[in-house]
Symmetry: C2
Subunit: 268 residues, 2 copies
């Protein structure tokens, strides 16, 4: 199944399930609320003109894994990890699949295309099998990073939690339709030029590993989001370095899931 939060032409949003090209309403204002309620998917009326927006507007927890693709670990000059490197974002950090990325001028803004995992069941000290069974689906994300702030101190949060900086969506695809462990292409493009391409099959810690690990210290709930890390090709690791400029179009694609298309808008 392909789930989303969609905007209605007249205003407002609803959780929805896609049948072919048509979106059908689910009984909740968004996918966060729908997953929390735990109701079965029973498609309601078709919504003409529906447009996917941020699928998960109110996750209680957003965790991200850094340094999870061998190639990106090497380009950042680090060793292969024995444990996942984890940091948090806020619900406010997320933005929709077509939204502008509005950030102040003068920052070193970089891209990080990522597979994101959506939690579908409460997970507390889950083993790998339980974690795998507790995945609601997968979506695309870009962990857009403000590198100068990220590197001001040892802790990355202040470069990773700028409001509205992390596009997510457009759809949440259930595990019966996509299998990241088998390898999905993760692609990032800037103004049409491919800057990242890798396979989710090369993740050091896969989706089930990450959910199980996180659940050993904090409860994961339906609608929570775990970003799995970015592959090689980020702007900070290039020579010369390259950062996002006003008007740049950032495209983030995960094979079998969909594409985020966001324009950078720098403000004074």
């Amino acid at each position: 199944m392909r789930l989303a939060t969609v905007g209605r032409p007249g205003g407002g949003t609803t959780a929805a399930v896609r049948h072919g090209d048509a979106w059908h309403a689910l009984p909740a204002p968004d996918l966060s609320a729908f997953l929390r309620a735990g109701a079965p998917v029973r498609a309601g009326a078709e919504i003409p003109g529906a447009v996917p927006v941020l699928p998960l507007p109110t996750p209680a927890k957003v965790l991200c894994c850094g340094l999870n693709y061998t190639e990106h670990i090497r380009e950042m000059g680090r060793e292969l990890p024995s444990h996942p490197t984890l940091f948090a974002k806020f619900a406010d950090t997320l933005t929709g699949p077509q939204d502008d990325l509005v950030l102040p001028r003068g920052l070193r803004i970089d891209w990080e295309a990522e597979l994101a995992v959506v939690v579908g069941a409460p997970l507390h000290r889950a083993d790998r099998a339980t974690a795998l069974a507790g995945i609601a689906g997968y979506t695309a994300a870009n962990d857009v990073s403000v590198r100068d702030w990220q590197n001001r101190t040892t802790q990355w949060l202040q470069g990773k939690a700028w409001d509205g900086s992390c596009p997510v969506g457009p759809e949440v695809v259930t595990p019966d339709e996509v299998d990241p462990a088998a390898g999905l292409a993760v692609v990032c493009r800037v103004n049409g030029e491919q800057v990242q391409r890798a396979s989710t099959g090369t993740l050091v810690f896969d989706a089930a590993d990450l959910l199980a690990y996180v659940s050993s210290f904090t409860l994961l709930r339906p609608g929570d989001l775990v970003l799995t890390g970015t592959p090689g090709g980020v702007g900070a690791a290039r020579d010369p370095q390259r950062f996002l400029a006003d008007g740049d179009v950032l495209e983030t694609s995960i094979e079998g899931i969909g594409t985020l298309r966001n324009t950078v808008r720098l403000t004074d």
Copy 2:
């Protein structure tokens, strides 16, 4: 004023304000909801037998500053910072002023007594004066840290976000009654033995600095919480190192605010 969330003897909680030794109800189920609603403080009926519990059960954001007292920075072997080192906790990380700290056996659990700042107004790119005016009050916290997990990777989150590990409270005291910039004693005791003592007057970044800085990248809202960092004397920096054991009583006091008293309970 002294505000809290209190448990009613018959069950349930309510936001409350203290007059002398008596707690009087405020029209919200807890202080998070009361601050979000933004209503003026008008004391209702007295609540006989009221007991302060976790004052802020549902903050949208909990941010923490590391390395913010000169002495603690030196004991951890680091240089004085030009920017605050920030990381996040979740609402689930917090627990009440008298609650047991229930954690699995076998972890290196350390104390970090801290002054916490409660946000009282929306703050977006606030300057110092606006941030100072947007403080609802101050409370006590202990950023209890699982050192072995904290140091598994470069990012501290996985040692700082164990569910129910961070006691907060017992009261939120408004800025007209306490002034951390003038110097409040922060004291931590383990089984009655003093292990940390410092003055909030020696913070590198004070409450207003931290709120202003954080608000430059993410909106702070009423009820959000910012922990200001811990002074010297943590267990990991001792020789030999010392960690919390089953049954240890951890007391965290901030002068003019109150004392948290939590017992460590290790489980299999």
